[in-house]
């Protein structure tokens, strides 16, 4: 940020707005995670959108304003669908009597089998489309690469690491209610379809990217696709894998976006074609980017490998005919990432390129945590995930 200010992209007042909006966004995100009221969850989700809109257009370039406008309209309309779903949910719950607690998740969950299955099926379609827009599910993903590439880099990191996860969390919460009411896996099938589609489309799009931040935002869509797919598959192992994947993806992705921010400062551009020789210019940034990419592509021994492997095993177990698609997608995504990252990190250093002052401790700590999770998951974390899995899917992981 200090760098941005130095080159005249930001003024003091905008920096002030940046910090206050950032805190507002964090408040809304934590509210989504902690509230028991489905209505408040929607309000907080919408609030998070509103808080980040002005952050995306922070640099006031025509591109960033376009990105912010797209983000605003698409997410606003999308999340309106989720409100319609919430209203239907409330409508179904109000028929049981007791209208005071009718939107409290704990009450709804306890009475899930009494809710009208027809109404809840319709409600879930709206909820999935609505929150799915925020997850970045294809074909509702258009805003995501734009907002990520034009906004300030710390924004991209929290959008990828937090906002997308929160939206997925909202979907999973609703799925639990719907599953309880319909006694079928209809919600799961919908999520599997959307997740698989997003995963494959994003993996292919990785090859065509020219902007480094767009590249990694497509990688986010791809990983959110895997998670949605795994949560949709249900069952102990897939749910456990999805939770683990959520954790390691957030850690890795925020590390990558921080490194990418430094990389584009070094090269003075976000265009992939113009970034060369990062390792020669500033070894720490170059290696950070390379190792981050290795981790996100799912190389052992990093945590992403563990979770992707678990998803794959669960797929082979439950839907063997989907496993080749999953493997193919992972392969395509891997190739797409490396084809762009390799020329950026290796190669000779351009003469004009200077090292910048960079604090890479957060990156190293994040990547070390991911490595640790890949080598051995600590018992308390594993227990915690197992409990969540038991709650979500009704069975234990292994």
């Amino acid at each position: 940020m200090a760098h941005e200010k130095a080159i005249g992209k930001l003024t003091d007042s905008r920096l002030k707005m940046y910090y206050s909006m950032y805190q507002g966004f964090m408040l809304a995100m934590y509210l989504v995670l902690t509230t028991n009221n489905m209505g408040i969850m929607w309000v907080a989700m919408e609030g998070a959108t509103l808080a980040t809109v002005l952050l995306v257009s922070l640099y006031r370039t025509p591109e960033s304003i376009e990105a912010a406008w797209k983000y605003f309209i698409l997410c606003g309309v999308g999340i309106a669908q989720a409100l319609f779903g919430t209203i239907l949910l409330y409508y179904a719950a109000a028929q049981l009597g007791d209208s005071d607690g009718a939107l409290l998740w704990s009450v709804l969950y306890a009475n899930a089998d009494k809710l009208n299955p027809d109404v809840l099926e319709i409600a879930f379609v709206f909820l999935l489309i609505g929150y799915g827009t925020k997850i970045g599910l294809v074909p509702l993903h258009n805003w995501l690469p734009d907002a990520h590439s034009e906004g300030p880099t710390p924004m991209s990191a929290v959008l990828s690491g937090l906002l997308l996860n929160d939206a997925l969390y909202a979907v999973v919460r609703n799925k639990m209610l719907v599953d309880g009411a319909t006694h079928s896996n209809i919600a799961g099938y919908l999520m599997m379809g959307f997740g698989m589609l997003s995963f494959l489309v994003a993996a292919l799009f990785l090859h065509r990217q020219k902007d480094i931040k767009r590249l990694f935002s497509y990688s986010s869509i791809e990983h959110m696709g895997i998670m949605t797919f795994a949560f949709g598959m249900g069952g102990g192992m897939a749910t456990f894998a999805a939770l683990l994947h959520m954790t390691v993806h957030s850690l890795t992705k925020s590390a990558i976006f921080v490194t990418v921010g430094y990389a584009s400062q070094i090269a003075g551009t976000q265009s992939i074609d113009k970034i060369h020789g990062l390792i020669k210019t500033q070894p720490k940034v170059g290696w950070g980017l390379l190792i981050g990419t290795i981790a996100i592509a799912g190389f052992p021994p990093f945590g992403v490998f563990t979770s992707e492997f678990l998803v794959l095993v669960a797929t082979m177990h439950n839907y063997p005919w989907l496993a080749p698609l999953l493997l193919l997608g992972i392969g395509i995504a891997f190739a797409g990432l490396f084809r762009h990252v390799q020329p950026m990190t290796y190669g000779a250093k351009p003469e004009t390129q200077q090292a910048v002052k960079a604090n890479l401790w957060p990156v190293m700590i994040h990547l070390a945590l991911v490595l640790w999770l890949g080598l051995s998951i600590p018992t308390f974390l594993a227990n915690w995930f197992s409990q969540a899995t038991l709650l979500i899917s009704g069975s234990t992981p292994l």
């Binding site: 509103l50 990105a67 606003g76 109000a94």
Partner: protein, 225 residues
């Protein structure tokens, strides 16, 4: 279902639903911005009346607060803001040429039929009158989207966005007699913030591309950039 057989309250609610649906169609075919904003304010007024009516007939005081909030936000503040914007941009004489109005109207009509089709399973759990009200509010939501697709002015997009919100609000009022108070306050707050943000955005868009035509926001795309 014969409307004469229903009680008085249901009859009025159904008429209100019909009127709200009608205003959506009016907005859809409207090329003049000022008239578009006027019809939008009218829709807000209908919503206010419906809310007040439900509050009166169910003796539910917190719905009066919702009614007042709707009046203040959607009948007065947002139309006033949009109108001021149109005047400042000197666009009040422009007529937007909508391509193929007939197809647009037919599209709107089929969206309405579609929303009846989607919500039909609900009919087992409730009265046909409720199905009508819910289906109309869903079609208002869908018509708002169609409005955003078919118009090119940013102001028309905002009107479409807010009319989607109107449709949702109508569903909440009629089907469930209003959401819990705290949720409604939250939604109203979000709408207010969104309206203010739209105001800021008009300023930014105008200063960066010198127009409010969203077709000119086309720099970011996937192919040959």
């Amino acid at each position: 279902m014969n409307i004469v057989e229903q009680d008085f309250y249901t009859q009025i609610i159904l008429s209100m639903a019909a009127l709200v649906g009608l205003t959506s169609f009016l907005m859809l075919g409207q090329g003049r911005l000022l008239r578009l904003i006027f019809v939008f304010a009218l829709q807000g007024l209908l919503l206010t009346l419906t809310t007040a009516l439900v509050a009166y007939s169910l003796d539910n005081p917190h719905l009066y607060i919702s009614a007042v909030m709707t009046l203040a936000l959607k009948v007065i503040f947002i139309p006033w803001m949009l109108r001021r914007e149109v005047m400042q941009m000197n666009m009040h004489r422009d007529v937007e040429a909508l391509s193929n109005k007939t197809a647009l109207m037919l599209g709107g009509a089929s969206l309405t039929v579609f929303s009846y089709y989607v919500l039909h399973p609900i009919v087992q759990t409730t009265s046909p009158a409720m199905l009508n009200a819910l289906a109309v509010s869903l079609s208002v939501v869908l018509l708002g989207m169609l409005l955003m697709i078919s118009h090119r002015q940013a102001i028309a997009h905002v009107v479409g966005f807010m009319s989607i919100e109107n449709g949702l609000f109508f569903a909440a009022i009629v089907a469930t007699n209003g959401m819990p108070m705290v949720v409604e306050l939250g939604i109203a707050f979000d709408v207010l913030v969104a309206a203010v943000l739209f105001g800021i955005f008009f300023f930014h868009i105008r200063s960066s591309i010198d127009s409010l035509d969203v077709d000119k926001l086309n720099r970011l795309n996937e192919v040959d950039k």
